[in-house]
Point group: C2
Chain length 119, copies 2
């Protein structure tokens, strides 16, 4: 049992769109990520996904509307809902999602990370 | 699907040791709480529990050591591990735990909240 300082963990990597696992509990993972630019449209058929913004402004596009998240704001995206994250400037975020969650759902893309790294 | 501003939610209540639910996903709940003073020794037999500090300093006593969490720090307490939270000054925190989690585990105490409120 070891405490985690999120700011310290964020200093350990620079790459975008590559979530790092900082905790596991009850079959879920806590991850942090740095993102910048446009990601791809995808969904997670069996997993709800939570985004919590640590720094910056994240736009989440859905097929019929867009949600803009600022620092200290969170959104839970229900399973099966297609979404596309966009960050005009670098965004730091915390993710909660089941261990089974695939990075880009069932889509294979050059941005897809097969294995999430523990950090 | 509605975004949640955590600071705004924290303005909606004052009571201590009474977690409020701000999100649900994958059988888990996201809660916020304000705490001050000493809580009671308890554990959760079947649930791991995560504390993330939003404001203040939280001491978590375990039977053989103590962990002090500052703002931006988190700790996952594995199921079955007895703990006692202590906040010398008011602490704001975010909790992540299964829906089944009871406030004080199997202990009944005047501080025990039977039902967590959505906010």
């Amino acid at each position: 049992m070891k405490k985690v300082n999120i700011a310290e963990k964020l200093k350990l990597f620079e790459e975008h769109w590559s979530p790092k696992i900082i905790g596991q509990l009850n079959g879920q993972e806590v991850k942090i990520a740095k993102v910048k630019g446009e990601f791809i449209w995808h969904d997670h058929a069996d997993e709800d996904e939570m985004f919590l913004i640590i720094k910056g402004t994240l736009k989440l596009e859905f097929r019929d509307h867009t949600v803009t998240l600022e620092e200290g704001e969170m959104l839970i995206i229900p399973r099966g809902v297609e979404h596309k994250p966009i960050a005009m400037e670098e965004v730091h975020l915390l993710l909660f999602e089941p261990i089974s969650t695939k990075h880009t759902g069932n889509i294979e893309h050059k941005l897809t990370k097969k294995y999430h790294d523990h950090i």
